[in-house]
Amino acid sequence: MSVLSALLRKELRLELRTFESVPGMVLFSVTIFVVFHFGLDRASVEGDLAAGILVVTLLFAGMLGLNRLYVADEEQGGFDGFLLAPVDRTWLFVAKATALFAYLVALEIVMVPAFAFLLLGPGLGQALPELLVVLALVNGGFAIIAALVGAIAVRTRARDLLGPLIALPLLVPVVIAGAELLQPLLREGGGGGLEAKWLAILGLYDLVFGLLSVAVFDPLLED
């Protein structure tokens, strides 16, 4: 546990000192909203369209985080330092996934109000608790996949290309379940319960890929 907290402190300190990921992600998400506004030619959206825009924007902004996640470790010797330490390698995966989860939360703190302000027709008020649950599950799935795929992609020649290319198909179930869950919340007078089926899929996805990633992460670090 102390390993995890040490790694996590390092990740967050690095981010706070360099501001490499989160500000870029935030700016990117707001820009995507503007692009969606002109691309769809809509002043406001609701229901399924709003859910789709929110999930897709989160995904694309998250891709920036995925691409940056391991770059410092690869280029500035973070992997070597970690491998020299007598600790279980799985902790690096857990720390990276947790750090990315935190980045996504920071992103959403700005992104969701910006979405409500710029594009969303109905207010978010009464649906907020459910919205937080859905976003937490979506973040979890994204952070797990990104921490695994990022570790694969960073050591290839075409890292910025391969990361999103591998991660996006893997994340399709998250998009499906996330959009289905958000859709009723973003309608006029939304809120009031989530469909258990989709919650189960999201939860199962996070669980299965969390365990799977922990199981297969080790070989990615050997050298």
Binding site: I152, A158, L165, V172, E180, L220, D223
Partner: protein, 240 residues
């Protein structure tokens, strides 16, 4: 040693496949609703099942590779996935033709099986570029195995998620709800699927034999020419 029994296997594959298509055209009845176009089913469905089975098999072989670190398991995993990708292209093409013939559209988004197959195909389409982007042989094998295991686990989960999301228009072939095929259709289908499995195994064995022969040739050439041997090109395929 790798070419052993290949001739018998090839002959058995050809006989079964020819027999399957003879049954398709001369024995199995035309479907009452869809008519003749339904016969593409005897090609499309076995191909899809074998391709998905090949993807999962690639994942299982990759587990073996990570456990033993023997490159031959990586080669097997690679070959299984490689052939499955080729079959998957065939599945998408025949599925699209069938959809056009029986539903009137080349592509239907409310078709869970079609859509999930496309997602799986898009995922595996990155397998070869990923291998190609890693130069170090040993690392390429390791990373490819991690990919193969993750993607292999993704296949069933993805099908569950997409199927729950959409309506049920795709015929269920081997499930309890839609599997009510008459006897002669079922027989034809079973022969077709055995033929497709045999085809997969034959191609798999041929590809393994070729890869081994090529590796052997390379090492012989290296022994003959010494250090002057040409540097092998960068490839996505594992070398033994």
């Amino acid at each position: 040693m790798y070419g052993k029994g290949l001739r018998g296997l090839s002959v058995a594959t050809i006989i079964t496949l020819v027999g399957a298509f003879a049954l398709v055209f001369f024995y199995a009845p035309n479907d009452r609703d869809q008519g003749f176009i339904q016969k593409i089913f005897y090609l499309h469905v076995p191909m899809a099942i074998v391709a998905l089975g090949g993807f999962v098999a690639g994942g299982l072989l990759a587990i073996q590779h990570l456990r033993t670190r023997d490159p031959k398991w990586d080669l097997r995993s690679y070959v299984a996935i490689h052939i499955s990708i080729i079959l998957a292209v065939g599945v998408l093409v025949t599925g699209s033709i069938w959809a056009k013939g029986s539903w009137g559209h080349w592509w239907l988004w409310d078709e869970p099986t079609l859509v999930s197959f496309l997602i799986v195909f898009l995922l595996y389409a990155t397998y070869t570029p990923m291998r190609f982007a890693i130069e170090d042989r040993e690392r390429q094998a390791r990373y490819a195995s991690v990919f193969a295991i993750t993607a292999g686990a993704f296949v069933p989960l993805n099908f569950a998620a997409v199927r729950m999301a959409e309506a049920y228009t795709h015929p269920r072939v081997l499930s309890t709800t839609g599997g009510a095929m008459p006897g002669d259709m079922r027989l034809t289908f079973m022969v077709a699927i055995v033929g497709m499995i045999l085809l997969f195994i034959t191609l798999y064995r041929f590809e393994l034999a070729t890869k081994h022969a090529r590796g052997r040739l390379r090492s012989l050439r290296r022994q003959l020419t010494g250090d002057d041997a040409p540097v092998p090109r960068r490839t996505a395929a594992p070398t033994i």
